[in-house]
Symmetry: C2
Subunit: 356 residues, 2 copies
């Protein structure tokens, strides 16, 4: 179903999208790439079953949510300058920034098309919810970008950003099938709450993997989030913990901030200038434009260990467990077929225990 | 209504959008900037009246269409490397490429929100049509980008691209109010046809202004489209006309193509590398990355005059008149309140005669 939807794209967008999803390689040859964890489509199908509807009722919702998720990956990888995703070069790196923007736009439009072409009242309600979730997703990315140019961010700000960037779409995924299946608001609301907390648990785990994850399994660089100066939960928690390590970390991050040329606004643009230039054929990357050029691995290792000493790593692991429990509590608050409940719980467990 | 919708955006996106619409200047001070011709909102309101509904029925459609139009301007200016729009620096130039991507995404999502929050069957139909039009808009931009890296494009390809890039959204604008007003398919279809032909007339005029327009009134650089190697109608028509001038022009454009480093795919990326780098603070633009760096004004003047000698200018003016007439014919094919018919015809006249 996802492939059928993507096949509607006009060339060369269909090829670029197929590369992004891992269906073909950079040369256009069929590939059995890692298309991601597909947690959201699985949730959308279960969501339909949760409403007592046949799982296939959730398919358009599953496809729409997966399309929106990948629209945001295409644009975020470009804005963040991420060069690798799922062990492969990102789309902007292979096909250029313009294609990353264009194909992202196309996937977003396609998501609405897949729902609205159903022409039912339920589909319109589902599309309205997906749109609301997408707006939050974009708010979250806006906050995330701003955070990178600040030398500190509170845990509260960080949780709000992650609730927008990750919680909203997971909440939509786990309720959209139910909405398409005609669920009442109480059921849809409980599923949404489950998804929201699951999203925060998911993101907390992501933040741990972003610093301490094994590049072999994550497919990202070591210290990936530190390289990008992401103010993720472990960093925010460490800074708020106080103590010597927190103080040292705060000073280091402040220095990073001063190392940077330009204002909050030109900040993302600079990194962008670097990555777009990198892509440009027959041009050498200008090292001066690489904010972290003068950093060696040891500097990242130091930051990581200071974050851990200040307790940022343990706090984030705790937060993941706490959000996981809140998600399970939300499930308990509503009547659901036992097997659906079990499968949702199993997915939540996977999210917490994943290493990638 | 548009301002209210945009005010829903979280900072800093609300500010960036306000700059784009010309409500504030780059410093954030209130400005009475040129917010564009607002042809589409006017059409959407008239469209409601065309269905015998009160014009305000068309407001959400007018806002949604204007949001989608501006989403595409934000992203296209970045992809095309346009530095000026409406006599002002474009958003990527002032606020950086990342904000141009992000705010474009937000305006697109907002467009769906404005329609779907109405929660009516008509609104869902309107949203479905807007989504279809947006997909064509994106197809058109994809074709436009590809054309820039080719040394020739047929008139047919060019018309198809312009039908997607300009015709589709105008067709949606002039029918969306009617759809919201519960118009029958025949009326909506006739209005859509009017909008489609009007869009092609509009684009033909745009292509003329893109080469021979007065920078004072267009707010674009001289030879703007030639600088970007756009294969617009005058160029395509000139190349197909044959004859000496066409031959010379073809050879010049072929040489341009060979001047360029990289493939079709890396093409946009390169220009992009240049523009993003330009934005990057504390960095000099790398002239080697400016594809047209070694061109002087005389070269553009030569191309423009060859296009005119080959008949590309006159053919395009003819095409504008032809599409204008087809638009008026579409209006005649359906019952409409006389004053609505008159106002639609007046708008069509304005589109043809505009100098900006």
């Amino acid at each position: 179903m996802l492939r059928e939807a993507v096949a509607r794209l006009a060339p060369p967008m269909d090829t670029v999208a197929a590369y992004h999803f891992g269906w073909i390689d950079a040369a256009g040859e069929p590939a059995d790439g890692d298309g991601g964890k597909a947690v959201r489509p699985a949730l959308a199908m279960l969501s339909a079953a949760a409403a007592g509807a046949p799982p296939e009722t959730g398919i358009p919702g599953a496809v729409a949510v997966e399309l929106v998720h990948n629209f945001s990956l295409l644009h975020d990888d470009l804005m963040d300058g991420d060069e690798q995703r799922r062990h492969r070069d990102t789309v902007w790196k292979v096909h250029g920034p313009a294609q990353a923007i264009l194909v992202g736009d196309a996937l977003f439009a396609l998501a609405n098309e897949v729902l609205l072409e159903l022409g039912t009242v339920e589909a319109a309600r589902a599309a309205a919810r997906l749109t609301a979730a997408t707006r939050k997703l974009i708010d979250g990315q806006a906050q995330d970008i701003t955070f990178e140019t600040r030398d500190r961010v509170t845990v509260a700000e960080c949780l709000e950003m992650e609730g927008n960037k990750t919680g909203a779409l997971l909440a939509c995924a786990v309720s959209i099938g139910a909405v398409l299946g005609g669920a009442d608001d109480r059921t849809a609301g409980a599923l949404e709450a489950f998804g929201h907390h699951l999203g925060l648990a998911y993101q907390a785990v992501d933040d741990l993997l972003g610093i301490w994850g094994d590049p072999e399994s994550t497919g990202k660089q070591t210290w990936s989030d530190l390289r990008q100066r992401k103010k993720s939960l472990p960093v925010a928690a460490a800074l708020e913990a106080g103590g010597e390590a927190a103080k040292q970390l705060g000073e280091l991050l402040a220095t990073d901030a001063h190392l940077r040329v330009g204002s909050e606004v030109s900040g993302p643009g600079e990194q962008y200038g670097r990555l777009a230039a990198e892509h440009a054929a027959a041009r050498e990357t200008d090292p001066a434009s690489d904010l972290m050029a003068d950093f060696d691995e040891a500097e990242f290792a130091l930051r990581a260990s200071l974050i851990e000493q200040a307790g940022g790593r343990e706090w984030t692991a705790q937060e993941a467990r706490r959000q996981h429990q809140l998600a399970l509590d939300a499930l308990e608050s509503v009547e659901l077929p036992q097997e659906v409940r079990d499968q949702l719980a199993a997915l939540a467990k996977f999210v917490i225990e994943r290493r990638r």
